[in-house]
Amino acid sequence: MKNLKKIASTALLAGITALFGMGSAQAALPIQHWTLANGAKVYLVSTNALPIVDVQIDFDAGSRRDPAAQAGLASTSAAMVEKGVRAGRNGEPALDQNALGEAWADLGASFDVSAGTDRTSYTLRTLSDPALLTKAVALAAREIGEPSFPDDIWPRERERINAAIKEANTKPATVVGRAFAQAVYGTHPYGQEVTEATLARIDTAAMRQRYEQLILPCRAKLSIVGAVTRAEAEALATTLLSRLPSPAACAPLPAIAPVVALTAPKDERIAFDSAQAHVFIGQPGYPRQDPDHFALTLGNYVLGGGGFVSRLTEEVREKRGLAYSVYSGFAPGLDAGAFRIGFQTRPDQAEAATKVSRDVLAKFVAEGPTEKELKAAKDNLIGGFPLLLDSNRKLIGNVANIAWYGLPLDYLDTWTARMNAVTAADIQAAFARKLQPQRMVTVVVGGKQAAAAQ
């Protein structure tokens, strides 16, 4: 087993040698990868730096697969997995949510289930002490494979979510996010909104049915980082999925239509009584597999991703004092997540700040970065490469990313070289391909003038 330092320093070395066109025999992130008999794909980084084991299991079961009428099915199903397990197939007693909470606390371990737009993720963090590890894996296996989706819990859970939605709707940040998603994504599931009406159409039967289709070993991607050998990891992975039904093969899931490009600009002004207006400007971005990913990552650093040193921060915050937070970013996923500029400012300044941001964006898309800016972006992102790998938490994030998008196992070995190869012209061309400042969505929530205009 390697320790983290070796992992990160060989990564640097690999990057440097790649610059000179030489291959490196050592992997940046020494990922072992294999497929279990049940079809699950396993990705392991074995490191004994700490007596900890982290596991992340991802399924193509995010909210993008929610039926429109039942928006929220993925996230509520994930939450309900934590509400109890039925009696086990080997005669283990059923456990309710409190028994589960106590059991995890007694192990000093944590287990979470959550759903994002693309994936449903199960994450386990436990000490590697064999007695604890064995129990934690066994308990996680029950939660993954034998959730009870208790009927008596769901109605009050739904009440609680409904109340939280109502509360969130009193905040300008919620209102701007919803209007922006609807305008950018149209009918694509990335834009679906969870409401009281969609929650009313969800019951535990729908959760169970969905679970049977999507949460299967042959659809699982397991990432494991920590103090386990390959043999231990294989046993652990097998156990974690052992209580799920295991069909011989999984039928491919239905394709999801891509996010549709915008055909015209859209300006939305929503009246809201708040101390700040919240502003989003953007459009559909790109899927993570897009070959422009490196150029767009470097370019966005210059435009609005680089903390204190981006063009947007310089123009909106540093020069004019218009906002505390201003940023730009892409959200690439399996589908084309949105590109977005976001900031909050005193309502009477919203139009001025919007104009400044649009001007910065238009100029950047038209001209790309200067050579000096490109160098600064590379200095930070490439120079900071070791910071991406200096904890088990960060390692498992990288491993799960490689697993989820099917990136090559040597992805991090070639990462530095690919970033280095990007030119200013590449960035300009990539931004021109991806962004059309003349037909973006602009949503401004807040301001008296907006109230008067409505």
């Binding site: 330092k5 700490l50 909470g101 109340a163 009584d273 004019r320 400012t345 900071g384 910071l387 109230a451």
Partner: protein
């Protein structure tokens, strides 16, 4: 709603940051470090501490897992060191430290750190102000040079201040003015404390920000940014002797000055319940109960009730399905959508035990208030079980291992502990003290500290949203009852 470890309890660092830190750059725009960290492995050496000739403390924690390092400078000055009329100046000054020195122009500090592959930020709390960079270890000397320069030589033209104060006002609007529960918290602190400077918000009152001058920030810098009032923490793939040499070279040359005298501003005893109501646009009501509790002044004080109070908070709310969750948020008769408990125990100012909750649909804040207090009363009457006591202790022990996964958190914990005057091994000793707490002690503190006289109840009364309401932008008014 699941907690990896009993929340916000076992270390001063976690505690202080969870309470009220303001950050120079919002997390949105920059990746902030994951929580985690101290306690060296059996093989690794523990942290080393020494003092420079000018009085500045240096702490070095070697962790050779990765070729990275963290530099943090913590200054023992925060909003509690401010005076009325210039509240928020500690935080404003923290922003101004990015605006240059005699030799480094405005904005250049951040550009250089970025060019070194680094991540950086700064934060202000009641008790302290902190600055940090995470860097590939080869850049350590450069960031030590930069950081020591601005600690000694921060200077900027008035024009930079004029724009930055607008940024800070936007920060206040974002964090507080549009957040009803944050506004309520601000009002509650002002009601709980009378003489203690903890009564004022870290970000400052808006009118103080509006009338703040460049001279206010410069005077605060001159007064408090003194070597003997600060600690340099370096953690990561570093050699202690090398860091010591660099610290002496860059920080050791800063002239020594006296740390200003601090007035105690001792909080008078509370003698009777205080209540306040606050109306703001919201759907959900919310209630927060603050009980005055003893403050730990010495972690060797095994007899302090603070230890058992921390255990009580974990028994109430330390894990999914703990007492508050179970009693208030579950079942057909549930009264709350969420409920929490939190015990403050170490700080430069007086500490509070907090209970809070969001009423379920159709339930009142009064019902939640009563239910929260009933759970403490139940512990006072019936005690706690050995199993739940063991459970929260298990989590603390495990969290000591999980914390080691982040060099950043190691540095944060060491810096925070120094601010509180705690020793290098405070975290382990705190966990050991908590392990020793008995069920009888938990029962005793539940009976002792939760009467009416030491309590301040703050209730958020929702103003239903009216889309066409032309309410203007005057801040909602809190009222004492």
């Amino acid at each position: 709603m699941k907690h990896l470890s009993p929340r916000r309890a076992a270390s001063g660092a976690v505690l202080a940051l969870a309470l009220s830190a303001l950050w120079t750059v919002p997390a949105q725009a920059q990746s902030t470090p994951a929580p985690a960290a101290s306690t060296p492995t059996a093989a690794a050496p523990g942290p080393q501490q020494f003092t420079l000739a000018n009085g500045m403390t240096v702490i070095v924690q070697t962790d050779r897992r990765s070729p990275t390092a963290v530099q943090m400078v913590w200054v023992r000055v925060g909003s509690m060191d401010e005076v009325d009329g210039t509240t928020g100046v500690a935080h404003v000054l923290e922003h101004m430290l990015f605006k240059g020195t005699k030799s480094v122009p405005a904005g250049e500090f951040s550009r250089r750190v970025a060019a070194l592959g680094g991540q950086e930020n700064a934060f202000t709390m009641r008790d302290a102000t902190g600055y940090y960079q995470q860097i590939p270890v080869g850049s350590l000397e450069q960031v030590m040079k930069l950081e020591s320069d601005r600690f000694a030589n921060n200077q900027w033209p008035d024009d930079e201040f004029k724009r930055e104060i607008e940024v800070v006002k936007e920060e206040r609007r974002l964090r507080t003015d549009d957040q009803p529960r944050a506004l309520l918290g601000e009002q509650q602190s002002a009601a709980v404390f009378t003489a203690s400077p903890y009564r004022r918000p870290v970000v400052g009152w808006m009118s103080d920000l509006e009338s703040m001058t460049p001279a206010d920030a410069r005077a605060f810098f001159q007064r408090w940014y003194v070597p003997a009032n600060a600690v340099l923490v370096v953690a990561g793939d570093v050699d202690v002797a090398r860091v010591r040499a660099l610290a002496e070279k860059y920080y050791g040359s800063i002239p020594a000055r006296a740390v200003p005298e601090r007035k105690p501003r001792t909080e008078p005893a509370q003698r009777g319940i205080r209540r306040l109501e606050f109306k703001a646009p919201a759907e959900q009501a919310y209630v927060s109960l603050a009980f005055r509790v003893p403050q730990l002044t010495n972690i060797d004080d095994a007899n302090s009730d603070a230890w058992a109070l921390v255990v009580l908070s974990a028994v109430l709310d330390g894990y999914a399905g703990a007492r508050l969750d179970r009693a208030l948020t579950q079942g057909p008769g549930r009264v709350a959508d969420s409920a929490g408990a939190y015990a403050g125990f170490i700080g430069r100012g007086p500490q509070l035990f907090m209970l809070d909750g969001v009423p379920a649909a159709g339930k009142t804040a009064e019902t939640v208030e009563a239910a929260l207090r009933a759970q403490v009363a139940r512990v006072a009457k019936e005690g706690v079980g050995e199993a739940e006591l063991a459970r929260v202790k298990t989590q603390w022990v495990a969290s000591e291992t999980y914390k080691r996964d982040s060099v950043m958190a190691q540095a944060r914990e060491l810096g925070s502990n120094w601010i509180q005057g705690l020793p290098l091994d405070a975290s382990e000793r705190i966990v050991a003290r908590l392990q020793a707490v008995t069920a009888a002690q938990v029962q005793a503190v539940a009976a002792k500290y939760f009467g009416d006289d030491q309590l301040t109840v703050a209730t958020l009364r929702p103003l239903p949203p009216e889309p066409k309401r032309g309410r203007g932008f005057a801040a909602p008014v809190g009222e004492m009852r």
